[in-house]
Symmetry: C2
Subunit: 544 residues, 2 copies
């Protein structure tokens, strides 16, 4: 069997290695347009920032090591320019312009995705960069070393843009993130992104949301990084008539086989099935790309491996903070027409009495009827990635809120609490589903404000109340509530808030059982205020 | 409804709080023999070590705060001495010896477990301690402060004993752990405990396994902590005729109801169902205790909550190291008669090219036929608890090895690799189940050594080979293997090893497809050597 692989970075290299282990006798030819294969593409920002110091660290495998270990015919600096499906051959162009053709029995297309170039003036200037590969990285690093820019604009506030914001800051450059949407980190919803944004602002990163620019000159910065997303490099596939879908990504079946039974595709070039909705999606991520490539190799070698879809689990290190997500966010749930609700927890990452406990904002989306977990997002510090990985596993398993309650997670004071935040999320959802409490959200607060006869109470201690509260809320600390029920009107709803939504839940239970129409504010004053703070910060920057 | 709760630490306090939220009008009386309720029992070792500095940190709730917040009638320093099931009342003794009785509609028994006192001479001496509650903790702390012991013996090398070994070391005391079994940390198997033992030895903790002593004087130490496990405090339950089981623990149904329909029990006093085997078990842990107590409260309040069993997820911080486990270890799998095999991974906790990567020894047990995950253990550093939590969730979901392959976990270089160690475990198991490779284990090595005609090769680079190898192994580095096949005899098995079992797997694939009878050494030379090192260390200590 002769297998040709187009693209030698994450997917292509993984597939070649797996294929060789499955079939020692196969002829495997790996074409890579660039100089490097299997390089650490997710590590490139950290080379810019100086955390990764050695160039050699970025090139995990070299063409030579790949040949020696895997007996794969690696051909770098050669570009596949056409696929002749009828004759099962590809046309290859060398750097000197010479062309030749190479036949295949099976073809695997893994060219990845290219940075989207936004329609801005000035993107061809020498101080404007994108970051996809090692030459891009060296060029930016050399520019910074030589020109010592004092300011940089990062256009696009996604996870990669924010990684670059951190790493450029580490180089002593003042960074402004310019995001066209109303929030950064589109993987997150506004109410988890707000904590990330507020933290980044504290670290000295300037963040401009709702920011439309027409030219890179408008940034006023010494250099500009374009980081507005990627598009599948599917031109070759489209040109030879393979079926494509969303954003032009190649369509495959769950065996990673394209519309041509002898051609497979994997990685950032393919359209995927969304694991949670079952619908079509385009979610370019390194983990799924690797899995898809391995599955393609299995099937090329005559196996029967199946890819069950992508759920979009991802994570960002932003200075000391971690932001992570899995499954659906609210936009995705709405787009899929799924009836969902959400809970917010502000939980310590480990026992609060053990030194160093830090809080995370954990949001979990669930199906309103079945209680099935649909998605989760968290912003915090140590242990944030752990909770998202547990929830990612729960989503894979199709778990419900009740299942989260029963999860038996590792507890000792330095690692968690006897009730882990993931268990707590299950409890909170179960309390909603079983009607033990009703809740409203931070985005309901301002629309209610001003309603005639609106009744709000804040059950935090008086000192916390004095530092700020929900508009119009009256202070009745939780410990006094049972003795002050007479101050509340049973004939109207009473909206209850505390700092995080936990004590106000306890208050709601007291009130409900005493005949009051209590409604809890999910996420409490903290979340309401964090969203407001992020918005205020944007607004003040827009006017300066 | 009048509910009496016996025992006010983890389980009792949790149940009282939940019950109040469910039933504002219930009369709830909480009896606690000691002075403190709801104290941080898992935090006590860290108070001894000085990481937790304030006494107030240990008492999360006080009787006063409990009364104020929850309207619970907390009666400390009162001991329930008898239960009259016929008349539904309990006899209570005050500290002054006075007795009175209190009726109940529902009774919840949550007294916990008491330290086992081993049959040693000298356990009543003032320099001999156990650690269960706050007075125990203060007594030990005061003794250390006043007497400045230079040496301490910890009798019992379980997780609590090892936590104490660390915390006594932090007080400047030279610690010897005395363990009767052949290994420490019985939650782990020998081949994961070895890394923990070797690390603790490096930290200066002396570890004596297979160590039988008859008197605390034999330790030769200035003080002794007894930490050989706990037994359920079920005397009261047994005396009133409730059904008991393993080690005398109270039997309950999955609603935490005892053999008396008006009496519930939860926490370290109850026998549980092992979630993985379905059999009876006694696994005292704080997380399960809390869950059981909450479930008991739900059912007392007329709900229908079910406890689905305990899988034994637990974690230890030992200086900088983390050891964690979930599900069955080999002893438990053997005892249950489950046909299992195991895989070992020695994986970096995050991308190896990102600074600070550290390795963990990850062992996963699986059902030999179905591939279902039965248990997992890991010893390593940052991110070790995360992998065990993911595997604990996978076990709860009944996942197989194939499901582990498909898990989509959060990847960025500071957090993981594109293929997380948990994914890798799935891949390794799948390769075994699908017959792509056969393996032997470290404990097979020495028994094979000396077999006539035994054929072993070590595929590591020559420099690694020169530093030590499996007895009789010949060096054929992986990159040279394809060219040196003629040196291997096809008519006999060839046992292949490398450092961790990964490159030797690749070598096995080359050999198998070329007609050789290749067998992989799981865990590689590293694991074989780590177990040997732990044993050698024990042996050398026994002769000194």
């Amino acid at each position: 069997m002769k297998v040709v692989i187009i693209g030698g970075v994450a997917g292509g290299a993984t597939a070649a290695a797996r294929l060789r282990r499955l079939d020692e006798s196969a002829e495997i030819i790996l074409f890579e347009r660039g100089e490097y294969i299997s390089f650490a593409n997710c590590g490139l920002p950290y080379y810019i920032g100086g955390e990764i110091k050695e160039k050699s660290a970025l090139t995990v495998q070299t063409p030579e090591s790949f040949r020696a270990r895997l007996n794969v015919d690696v051909r770098t600096r050669q570009t596949v320019t056409a696929v002749d499906r009828k004759n099962k051959s590809v046309t290859v162009r060398r750097e000197n312009g010479e062309e030749y053709s190479e036949t295949y029995d099976k073809l695997l297309i893994t060219p990845g995705a290219a940075p989207v170039r936004p329609p801005l003036k000035g993107t061809d200037k020498e101080n404007v960069f994108t970051l996809r590969n090692i030459p891009d990285t060296y060029r930016m690093d050399e520019y910074i070393t030589a020109r010592k820019p004092k300011t940089a604009a990062v256009v696009g506030g996604g996870f990669i843009g924010l990684e670059m914001a951190e790493n450029l800051t580490r180089r002593g450059i003042a960074v402004t993130v310019i995001e066209a949407a109303p929030q950064i980190a589109a993987v997150l919803d506004e109410d988890t992104a707000c904590d990330l944004q507020n933290y980044l602002t504290e670290q000295g990163v300037r963040i401009r949301t709702n920011a439309k620019i027409e030219s890179t000159d408008e940034t006023g910065c010494d250099m500009t990084l374009l980081s507005v997303g990627v598009r599948p490099e599917s031109e070759l596939a489209a040109a030879c008539g393979l079926e494509t879908g969303l954003r032009g990504a190649i369509k495959t079946d769950d065996h990673m086989r394209t519309s041509d039974p002898d051609i497979y595709a994997a990685g950032d070039v393919v359209q995927i099935r969304n694991f949670v909705t079952g619908g079509e999606g385009y979610i370019p991520l390194a983990g799924p790309a690797n899995k898809q490539a391995r599955i393609a190799a299995d099937n090329i070698a005559g196996g029967n491996s199946v890819y069950r879809g992508t759920q979009g689990t991802s994570v960002l290190k932003a200075f000391g903070m971690t932001a992570a997500a899995t499954g659906l966010n609210e936009r995705a749930a709405k787009a899929a027409g799924i009836p969902y609700d959400k809970v917010f927890l502000y939980s310590a990452n480990h026992a609060s009495y053990y030194p160093g406990a830090q809080f995370m904002n954990l949001k979990v989306l669930f199906h309103k009827e079945s209680g099935k977990i649909l998605g989760a997002q968290a912003v915090g510090f140590d242990g944030t990635d752990k909770r998202i990985d547990v929830l990612a596993t729960a989503i894979r398993a199709g778990m419900t809120a009740g299942d989260l309650c029963g999860l038996e997670l590792a507890y000792a004071p330095p690692f968690s609490s006897a009730k882990d935040p993931v268990n707590m999320a299950g409890y909170v959802i179960e309390n909603l589903l079983s009607g033990k409490v009703r809740q409203i959200h931070w985005h309901d607060v301002d629309s209610l404000t001003g309603t005639p006869g609106l009744q709000r109470i804040d059950v935090r201690p008086a000192a916390a109340y004095a530092n700020g509260t929900i508009p119009g809320a009256v202070s009745i600390p939780l410990a006094q509530l049972r003795g002050r029920l007479g101050e509340i009107d049973k004939s109207r709803p009473v909206y209850v808030s505390c700092q995080t939504g936990l004590n106000s839940y306890i208050a709601c239970r007291i009130l409900l059982q005493n005949g009051f129409q209590a409604v809890n504010l999910a996420g409490g004053y903290r979340l309401y205020n964090a969203v407001r703070q992020a918005k205020t910060c944007n607004a003040s920057q827009e006017t300066t």
